[in-house]
Symmetry: C2
Subunit: 374 residues, 2 copies
């Protein structure tokens, strides 16, 4: 019975896929729906998932003691109920500091080739220690982090059990545990996934129309393809800058100088008016103003602010931004051109994007251990 059912589903899916390729062909891009099927999240060989490691990683993710003054945890910016991102334009940061980029979501981050907007990490293990240690985010001395965790009996025991290491907690272990937890933050139940598996009623007509535009006239698919809808590449779009005045001018100033600091080769950094993006990492002129293509899974849930600096509010405005051909910036991607979409079509694309939303995450905060056994 089961085999028969599976076969029927498979056949239905195949037929649907073929039809989709035909539909798409009319609109320039041939799309194989198979390419959207979500495989299990890749697990690195040197950091296998275990139940205990994931549990430990979850605790660390929620523990404020991972910040310098005990005021922020990973979950303070990657808020589970807000799609594991921050529901404000910019990331939270530590008192007396300010951040200048919008928090990327953790959702499906296990599928990404590049982490951070400028792609400076290429694994979740590499990513995890960055926000903990930077003075613009959690500002924890990485040496004190491991020293402090070691003095919490429950953690000491858990790290020993998970990593089979006696009397030591290392930065690497902390990063691996957090990454293991993050690899469990995967959205599998979206209307779109149901649709491509053969459930034609999973998406509304409007959303299906949006999908056709997405892979056709609007050509979103050029950058947003694959199971989590990203090419894992970097593009300059000309996203509007944030207009910061008065008190928040400090942000711009600090940003600039931080960029100068880590990029001592930059001349006249005071005249830099935009976030240089990928260029700050590669120092290649061709990477100027480029940011990585984000995943679109759960895109509705992670709103209302979008883009690397959170400057666009609401999905409709994101679509409008692309419809008018992006912003005005040197080095702009040649893929970004006016789309001539009607307002109706813009709404259809938004409807499709919302079909990439999974159910709300219902993650309860773990019980955190004390500094002394009790």
């Amino acid at each position: 019975m089961l085999i028969q059912r599976r076969f029927l589903l498979f056949a239905a899916a195949m037929i649907f896929m073929l039809s989709c390729v035909i539909i798409a062909a009319k609109n320039v891009y041939a799309v194989n729906l198979k390419s959207f099927i979500l495989k299990p999240v890749p697990i690195p060989k040197n950091n296998p998932q275990t139940k205990e490691k994931i549990k430990l990683g979850k605790m660390l993710f929620f523990d404020n003691r991972l910040s310098g003054d005990g005021s922020l945890s990973c979950a303070s910016c990657h808020v589970p109920a807000a799609g594991f991102t921050t529901p404000t334009r910019l990331s939270l940061s530590y008192p007396t500091t300010m951040h200048w980029r919008h928090t990327p979501s953790v959702i499906d981050s296990g599928y990404l080739k590049f982490l951070f907007w400028d792609g400076r990490a290429t694994s979740l293990e590499q990513q995890a220690l960055g926000p903990i240690s930077t003075p613009f985010e959690m500002n924890k001395h990485i040496h004190y982090l491991t020293a402090e965790l070691y003095e919490i009996p429950v953690y000491r025991k858990m790290f020993r059990q998970v990593f089979h290491a006696k009397n030591i907690i290392t930065q690497k272990m902390v990063a691996e545990a957090i990454a293991s937890f993050e690899r469990t933050i995967v959205v599998t139940k979206t209307p779109f996934y149901s649709y491509i598996k053969g459930n034609k009623h999973a998406m509304s007509k409007k959303a299906i129309a949006g999908f056709k535009l997405f892979i056709g006239k609007a050509s979103c698919i050029r950058c947003h393809y694959g199971p989590v809808f990203t090419d894992n590449k970097f593009h300059a779009l000309g996203v509007p800058p944030l207009h910061l005045t008065g008190k928040t001018a400090k942000l711009v100033a600090v940003t600039r100088h931080y960029f100068t600091y880590v990029n001592a080769h930059l001349k006249n950094s005071n005249k830099i008016k935009r976030d240089l993006g990928r260029y700050l990492i590669t120092h290649k002129k061709s990477d100027m103003y480029k940011f990585v293509t984000p995943s679109l899974i759960d895109i509705g849930e992670i709103g209302p602010y979008y883009m690397h600096n959170g400057s666009i509010k609401g999905l409709l405005n994101v679509v409008k931004f692309f419809n008018k051909g992006g912003g005005n910036i040197p080095n702009k991607s040649k893929l970004i051109k006016p789309l001539h979409l009607t307002l109706k079509q813009e709404y259809e694309i938004v409807a499709f994007l919302k079909s990439l939303d999974g159910p709300k995450f219902n993650i309860t905060s773990p019980k955190l251990p004390h500094f002394i056994n009790k």
Copy 2:
């Protein structure tokens, strides 16, 4: 007239000195009062004092932005009105961290060969960046410190004027400016200094009796000699440990682990029950439990807590501690033996110590600049 007066003073001083040597001779130690005369504070050749640099250093000393969350400045622990130390047993520290040593005073620190209780810095320039960057004190990322200062127009201008460097503020400059200000924190007007300059009425009879004990029966002079009363050496005294229970047990634990961290060679760090002092820096067994001899100038003003861990309250109890021959500790200094002082004599030594106090510092907090010109 002036020359004559000077000559008379000099002659009087010489006669007094000789008499003092005689007095001291009766009590074992021959003391040349000339050795107590305070010379101008030594200025390193590579960091000359300028009025502007001192002004800048004072501003930095009082600026909370030198801590990671903007809650602490140098002056938070080195409180001018409390003799440039902390009027609590232990140093203040950053939220979620705890310190385990008592704040040394800044007063006359320009004369010292070693800074910190374990002597890990040998100049004020070296010392200044330590408390700013350690997670157990101000917890400021040293890279962000210079970036942030650079974004404050007034500081940017001042650093340029003081250090003749364009478009840059370095850690070295910050340290040099703070050190320059600290070298101005010198106590010159004590009853004792007046006394050795020839004013016999500057000290009470009780204090003079105390001085005789100090250089005689009590033999304090063996370690506390010279203009600021220190041999600049390290001794193990067996100072009582702080009895920390419950919540504050964390302190002990963190201390131990911190020591382990910076001293990875230490085995069984969990079994360490005392601060290992100088040993943590030199790794020589002969330095175990040793701490540097502090200056005694302004010793009354910097109370009520004394010793490296602030465990002794009040000068009388400090004298009593030495009178009973210090504490019970391996590696204890052979200079520390029971003194057989009477209670009256203990009080006399306290009276002498108080004659080393200068007038209260009356330092007003400087006006601190804004992040934007206004």
